[in-house]
Symmetry: C2
Subunit: 146 residues, 2 copies
DNA sequence: ATTGCAAATGCAAGTCATTTGCAATATACA
DNA sequence: TGTATATTGCAAATGACTTGCATTTGCAAT
């Protein structure tokens, strides 16, 4: 498969051994359109026949993050971190306060604002982090928005 | 003291008993110009002669947050949460990556953007968190922006 | 001032996500 | 194929916080 070869190649580039666990996790992360927790990855792996220990999942996610293949989100609300395949895109997230689901948002309303801010403050701006919180449609139905 | 009476009044308004622990913690938070962790509060209390258990610190901070007297920051980098006296201001921070200085920014460029986002996503938006990173004038001079 | 009782506290034990030590195993490359 | 080294599973540890429960305290009604 093309994607698998690509994944394999990316591991090699990073100086990582191509193990079935790593390949399976990176594959899954690549295909997942929303960030996933270590436990979700663990359940997915064991569900799809790739037997793996939870600690290995944690170690693998961290290794892949170190190499820049994944992005780690330390959640502000929930207690557990989420990981996501790094597609090298600048984006923000709409975070549901009910179920902690993260919805990536592609467009960014801040580019012009940053330029104005640079002039006003003498900072050289290197980047920003924006999370928007709210309640998704399902949680609104469940009455979770209190 | 005026401030103490004010603090006492605020506790009463919230239906909270005026205990020496709560008063001491709220006092400290009011005076502190930077957010503090539970452990920092614990050390401060016991250092100033207000003997208190760590679990009580946690419970107190959470109670005060529930009542809106404090703001909780789940820091992105550190593992522990920080609390800060709620002065009822919406603000963002320009954070210097060289010296960690935080410059508060009063204006917020996101109100209109949020309204558009609500329509586009069916989320009910409750708030947002924006930090902008860069290098301040002094750190630029020091060549710290790598 | 005294009392009654819910709220607040201390202490110890419990959670829960994540990390780590170590022995067993798998991989890359000679 | 052999072997040095990276990776894994398992169990135990960590660290920030939370909770159960018996005791104490604040405060409102006597």
């Amino acid at each position: 498969m093309e994607m698998n070869d690509d994944i394999k190649e990316r591991l090699k580039e990073c100086g990582l051994k191509n193990t079935k666990h790593r390949k399976a996790i990176l594959d899954f992360m690549f295909c997942s359109r929303v960030p996933a927790s270590a436990e979700q990855v663990y359940i997915q792996m064991n569900g799809q026949g790739t037997s793996i220990d939870l600690s290995t999942v944690y170690r693998t996610l961290e290794t892949l993050r170190e190499k820049g293949l994944l992005i780690k989100h330390d959640r502000l609300n929930d207690t557990r971190a989420l990981y996501e395949y790094n597609r090298m895109e600048h984006k923000h997230y709409l975070v549901c306060l009910g179920c902690n689901k993260m919805l990536p948002i592609k467009d960014c309303p801040l580019a012009e604002y940053e330029r104005a801010l640079e002039k006003a403050t003498n900072f050289v701006i290197a980047g920003h982090k924006l999370d928007i919180f709210g309640y998704c449609a399902e949680c609104q139905e469940k009455g979770l928005q209190e």
